[in-house]
């Protein structure tokens, strides 16, 4: 007899129902402005059943908005990786550099995207570069830190092999350090992507570009609260999927 999938199916479902109940109760008692699930679905329907429709600049299908957001996020994220990975390698392989920059990194890490964006606007004038600046700056740190940790954790045995064979600096990097650090790097990449996605929404809300975040803020201003919930659910879904995808990639490299 096949065992009922109690752990991974039934329990999450129970949780989901509980939260749904809380929602229903809330919107009929203490939070009259909170749209009910049914209302939310009715209002969101056109955005979901026609996910790629484009009726206007800030009136588009939900997947189309997601697509815009993903493009912006991937640009910022690639800048973060492109800068963060070599930076992590440098910090990981030099004690001096670590001592020089570690305090600054610890100091910059907790600064909120909402604080960076105005500075980006001051620096670049336009909203898109400012958004990229913010995404890159906020999401870079997990990549930097994890890469550095990975470089420091390369087993001495592997480095001895490189020394005994007298590998050049370049070969040591490509044949030994890089592959040995890869699992750590991908952990960093996954965490960075999570943050980049977190930041994009805040950025879009502030600069008002079309995307899930921009849509959310606009609908708040137009008092269509159902769409706020639609956006929140979309953001959560996309973030979850991104994390899972990166998790798969990460595990592949950890196993290799």
């Amino acid at each position: 007899m096949k065992r009922f999938p109690f752990d991974w199916l039934a329990l999450p479902l129970v949780g989901l129902i509980a939260v749904g109940l809380l929602w229903v109760i809330s919107c009929s008692t203490w939070a009259p402005n909170l749209p009910s699930p049914v209302k939310t679905w009715e209002m969101s329907r056109p955005y979901i059943v026609e996910p790629f429709a484009k009726r206007g600049e800030l009136d588009q299908g939900v997947l189309r908005f997601t697509w815009y957001s993903l493009i912006l996020v991937s640009k910022g994220y690639f800048i973060a990786i492109l800068i963060g990975t070599p930076l992590g390698f440098l910090l990981g392989s030099s004690k001096t550099l670590t001592m020089m920059f570690d305090p600054i990194i610890q100091f910059l890490k907790p600064v909120s995207p909402l604080a960076w964006l105005p500075l980006g606007l001051v620096l670049f004038g336009k909203s898109e570069p400012a958004a990229l600046f913010t995404i890159a700056l906020c999401s870079m740190w997990p990549t930097v830190v994890n890469t550095a940790v990975g470089v420091r954790a390369v087993p001495q045995d592997y480095l001895n092999v490189a020394r005994v064979l007298k590998l050049s600096k370049f070969k040591t990097l490509t044949k030994v350090l890089f592959p040995a650090t890869l699992p750590y790097m991908f952990t960093g990449f996954r965490l960075s992507l999570g943050i980049a996605w977190l930041v994009i929404v805040a950025c879009e809300m502030l600069i008002g570009t079309p995307g899930v975040g921009g849509f959310l803020w606009q609908e708040y201003n137009s008092l269509i609260y159902e769409h706020i919930i639609l956006c929140i659910l979309t953001i959560g879904c996309v973030g979850f999927i991104l994390d899972r995808l990166m998790g798969i990639v990460e595990r592949r490299f950890a196993a290799a």
Partner: protein, 285 residues
């Protein structure tokens, strides 16, 4: 002057490590000559400084004082002219057996064509009995097979000498016997100068021309040297039946049990300490 008898010259080797309580001198005044083509084992109690000596020969750590001269040149840093077989095989797990060996071959024969390099790699992997596992990754290989790759990698460098640090220490007893045979076989085909660290008396006797016994640390040095006079090629079964084998074995064991803690005041130069020359060469201490 370089003669065959002092192909490797270790002269007054001393190594101290800094500790919170001041420098700890692990090895002091270690003195040894190894002839070209000779197989020497280094045996001693755990922690006496065998690996320390070997890693200085390998160039992985710097002597505090004294020097090491290989083939007429002072050793300065690590290099592929010394093939090292580590206790853990230290294969790069993201590369196949082939690529692991190739990495070294490319270093010593950078001008050879890709095909020639590949042929060398295959030759040595076949020599250690891995013809069927050439393109497997370390994770797919057993411990014994991995160490075979380690041996192939060291030999494929065609180095001036071979350095082995308890190469079979992490293997089970049966695999260890098997790999001793492999090493014996490959070594006898190349007659490569070799220094091997071991704490297995039988392993030392089977493989070596001379066994160097180290005194206990700190300040470990060469205690006694026993020559192993058996003709090659050697056969374990035949060897073990002879009384001479028992004699050599007893000598090693009695040193380890009774005399390892005694510091010799002068380096041993008596007849016993004279090495068994390999291939007609003579060695002096």
């Amino acid at each position: 002057m370089l003669t065959d008898s002092n192909y490797l010259e270790i002269w007054n080797l001393t190594k101290s490590f800094p500790t919170p309580k001041g420098p700890a001198t692990v090895v002091k005044g270690f003195q040894l000559n190894v002839a070209r083509g000779e197989f020497v084992s280094l045996i001693g109690h755990s922690g006496c400084g065998k690996s320390t000596v070997l890693s200085m020969i390998a160039g992985l750590s710097e002597p505090t004082s004294g020097g090491i001269i290989l083939a007429g040149r002072e050793i300065d840093g690590a290099g592929p002219d010394r093939g090292v077989v580590f206790q853990a095989p230290c294969l790069l797990p993201w590369m196949t057996a082939f690529d692991n060996v190739l990495l070294g071959v490319q270093q010593v024969k950078p001008d050879a064509s890709r095909a020639e390099q590949g042929d060398i790699v295959k030759h040595y992997l076949e020599l250690v009995g891995l013809a069927d596992a050439i393109h497997k990754r370390p994770a797919e290989l057993s411990g014994g097979m991995r160490q075979r790759v380690g041996i192939a990698r060291a030999f494929a460098l065609s180095p001036k000498m071979l350095l082995l640090d308890e190469p079979f220490g992490m293997l089970d007893a049966l695999t260890r016997l098997e790999l001793q045979e492999v090493l014996l076989e490959v070594w006898s085909q190349h007659q490569m100068t070799a220094v091997m660290v071991t704490h297995d008396v039988d392993e030392a006797v089977l493989l070596s021309d001379r066994v160097v016994m180290m005194t206990n640390g700190p300040e470990a040095q060469v205690g006694e040297i026993v020559k192993v006079p058996f003709a090659r090629p050697r056969d374990r079964i035949h060897l073990m039946e002879t009384t001479a084998y028992e004699d050599v074995r007893d000598e090693l064991l009695s040193f380890l049990e009774e005399r390892a803690h005694i510091k010799p005041s002068i380096p041993t130069t008596d007849e016993d300490a004279r090495p068994a020359p390999a291939a007609g060469s003579t060695v002096s201490c």
